[in-house]
């Protein structure tokens, strides 16, 4: 083996070691924090658990009796709401509708209106 070749071998070995060590210590810090996208974050808010008056789509209101479709449509059309009770201030509600809404206040939540939802605010296309 010539002198040239063995010198070259040491250089490459050194490079490998260097890259290895750098990679080990200087690895990407990204995984340090749990990765979470904006939608997952939104789902972790009350939007993911209750009927969010500012964000839940019309079909979502069929989960509790009496809300779908008439009140669901009114609720979506009159959004946004600052707090859950504001839903009772929708104009021209009948007494019966007010009662249904009052009985459901615990099932409602209010979070910031989420622009990212787009048309999913009306219909997210998930039926089952």
């Amino acid at each position: 083996m010539s002198k040239m070749q063995s010198w070259w071998r040491w250089i490459s070995l050194g490079c490998c070691l260097l890259v290895g060590i750098l990679g080990f210590w200087g690895g990407p810090p990204a995984l340090a924090a749990e990765p979470i996208n904006k939608m997952d974050a939104k789902l972790a808010s009350p939007f993911g658990q209750k009927l969010d008056l500012n964000n839940t789509n019309v079909n979502g209101f069929s989960r509790y009796p009496g809300l779908y479709p008439t009140l669901a449509r009114l609720i979506v059309a009159n959004a946004p709401y600052g707090k859950v009770e504001d839903v009772l201030a929708i104009p021209n509600l009948t007494e019966r509708q007010k009662e249904v809404l009052k009985a459901n206040l615990d099932n409602f939540a209010v979070t910031e209106p989420e622009v990212m939802l787009g048309w999913d605010r009306i219909n997210n296309g998930i039926y089952r």
Partner: protein, 163 residues
């Protein structure tokens, strides 16, 4: 010795298993399956085999275009599965409530009559298919809707992925 026997024994075992398992697994319309809720007072009723059979035929002929497999093609939010029926206003998960729907259909919240949009006896002028249905027929159809989930489980009203 064991090596020689294992093949035949396995074959025999599988053969015996298919023989025993098939009749037990086959779905039979026994009395319990044909017993469904009559009204919201907790009364039940048992359809005869003939009624159940007739309910199936009538349902497929009169309702199947939209409600095949218990779904609602034209509004998948409001299906004929037990959960959807139970959450309707008034609840539609009994024979009497379903017969009432076939005479006077309403929106899911019970607030509006939709006889102009949904087949029923109220408007046989626009839904001529409904003209020849007798009270017994309505009863049989309602029974069929309530029997199906007991046989097919989630397949009734579960949608395409369960067909």
């Amino acid at each position: 010795m064991i090596g020689k026997l294992i093949g035949p024994v396995l074959c025999l075992g599988i053969w015996l298993w298919t023989l025993l398992a098939t009749p037990a697994q086959a779905i039979t319309l026994d009395d319990a399956t044909r017993t469904v809720a009559l009204n919201d007072q907790g009364e039940t009723v048992t359809l005869t085999l003939r009624e159940a059979e007739r309910g199936k035929q009538l349902f497929n002929a009169k309702c199947g275009t939209c409600h095949v497999g218990g779904i609602t093609k034209t509004n998948p939010v409001v299906g004929l599965d037990p959960e959807s029926l139970a959450l309707a206003t008034p609840p539609r998960n009994t024979v009497e409530a379903l017969v009432d729907y076939m005479k006077n259909p309403t929106t899911y919240d019970g607030l509006q009559e939709i006889a102009e949009l949904h087949p029923s006896l109220a408007r046989t002028d626009i839904y001529p298919k409904m003209r020849d249905l007798t009270e017994d027929d309505l009863y049989a159809i309602a029974g069929h809707i309530l029997i199906q989930p007991k046989i097919r489980g989630i397949q009734w009203g579960g949608g395409k992925i369960y067909y």
